[in-house]
Subunit: 234 residues, 2 copies
DNA sequence: CGGAATCCTCTTCGATACTG
DNA sequence: CAGTATCGAAGAGGATTCCG
């Protein structure tokens, strides 16, 4: 049973060793940080440094190791951005992109556990994009088609809703042609998103600004928020 | 920053410390073994010993610790079975049951990674029940309403399909009123479920037996199997 | 700048032994 | 049967360094 340490031991991966679909999935993406890494990449390609920023506390060695493992499993791929950027980025492959239902299910379930941000909690506007995208879907009302752009603490992202509330997409980059733009600081934005503060109040007090607002856009945005924090906020 | 060890240190839980729905969910159920434990309980209440059997390699201390943590978070609850059984079991709470979409999403994604069982892989018929339950759903064709009972290697479980393919349920106990019963050994059953062997061949060779079969039941069962192993088997 | 490699400490895991 | 206690092994997580 014991194997001699060859010079190039292939570093066998830890596995649950169960012939089960769930266990097999967790063998691939169940380790610590891995699904959060997929979450980061689910809103678009990212550089190593961006990923470090989006995963506070991970450490460079662990991130590099996770990326390498995911690449070996065909979930993540390295790519070079077209000029003039030309930077090396990591992005999800097709297989990796198909993890979206997993992220969505986790986000929806976790929404009911998420209360107001604690003192020590890190906050990123991009995470709200994932939550918004997950809250939407075929059965969620309020999925009014359109493109909603956000610029929160200088960080841009957008959510695009297709027809019938399906084909929802969240990306961590500026919207090309937004129907509505919401701009402001993360604290206020999160307060609105979790309905601790109404959008009207935030806009009137000047802490949040909107652009290009059409009739009903604001209501559609608020309708999302009803789904962001589940039953907790009543 | 350093805190003195008080006599009743509340044993702070490790957390990603991110104000994000996904991270929050993983704080609760993202540790090693935890989601597999939820999988085990998703097919019905289980005793400590049953859980140990369904999670080979977990170690008793770790299982006890996970159960305690999940109980503290309101995901799992202890219960006593009604007489004459009277045994102590663990079961999912409402909150825990709502993790089902997470299990389903993982199972569906993991299905495409699951190939033929390796030599070292543990096998359990109950896991196939979870895979079958996950493969079904609103959008999966072939969800013919009815109750399908299985007795594989002496282990009984059943899958019940409601109207329109929704309300699918998998339980690790005998079906009360099955429309179709499939009985046999795990190896053959898994071969059929993954379409490496046709049900007809298995029945004709006597390694699998069916009872109470009605017109179309067999076809409905085979239709499931098309979803068990995704694109891999073409 | 992007990322890999090293070192060291701490926590968690995993197997076994032990107790109510 | 249901756990607790224990201990070696493995992984996490910082800091720092090296290399292209």
């Amino acid at each position: 049973m014991k194997e001699e340490d060859g010079p190039k031991m292939v570093e066998k991966k830890r596995s649950y060793g169960q012939h089960c679909t769930v266990a097999r999935a967790l063998d691939a993406v169940g380790e610590r940080w891995t699904l959060l890494l997929v979450r980061e990449l689910s809103t678009g390609p990212k550089r190593f440094k961006d990923l470090l920023g989006g995963l506070p506390g991970i450490g460079t060695n662990l991130l590099a190791g996770r990326l390498k493992a995911l690449e070996a499993e065909g979930i993540v791929r390295r790519a070079t951005l077209p000029p003039p950027a030309g930077s090396n980025v990591y992005e999800l492959t097709g297989l990796g992109g198909e993890l979206e239902p997993v992220i969505v299910a986790l986000s929806r379930w976790g929404a009911r556990l998420l209360d107001a941000p604690g003192e020590e909690d890190a906050v990123s506007a991009g995470w709200a994009a994932v939550a918004m995208r997950s809250a939407l879907g075929p059965e969620a009302s309020g999925g009014r088609p359109g493109t909603y752009g956000f610029r929160i603490d200088g960080e841009a992202f957008h959510v695009r809703v297709g027809h019938g509330g399906e084909e929802v997409e969240a990306r961590q980059d500026p919207a090309p042609d937004p129907d509505l733009i919401v701009e402001g600081d993360a604290e206020t934005f999160l307060a609105v998103a979790s309905r601790r503060l109404s959008l009207e109040e935030a806009v009137q007090s000047g802490t949040l600004r909107t652009e290009g607002e059409q009739e009903g856009d604001r209501e559609a945005f608020m309708a999302w928020c009803k789904h962001l924090i589940g039953s907790a906020a009543g």
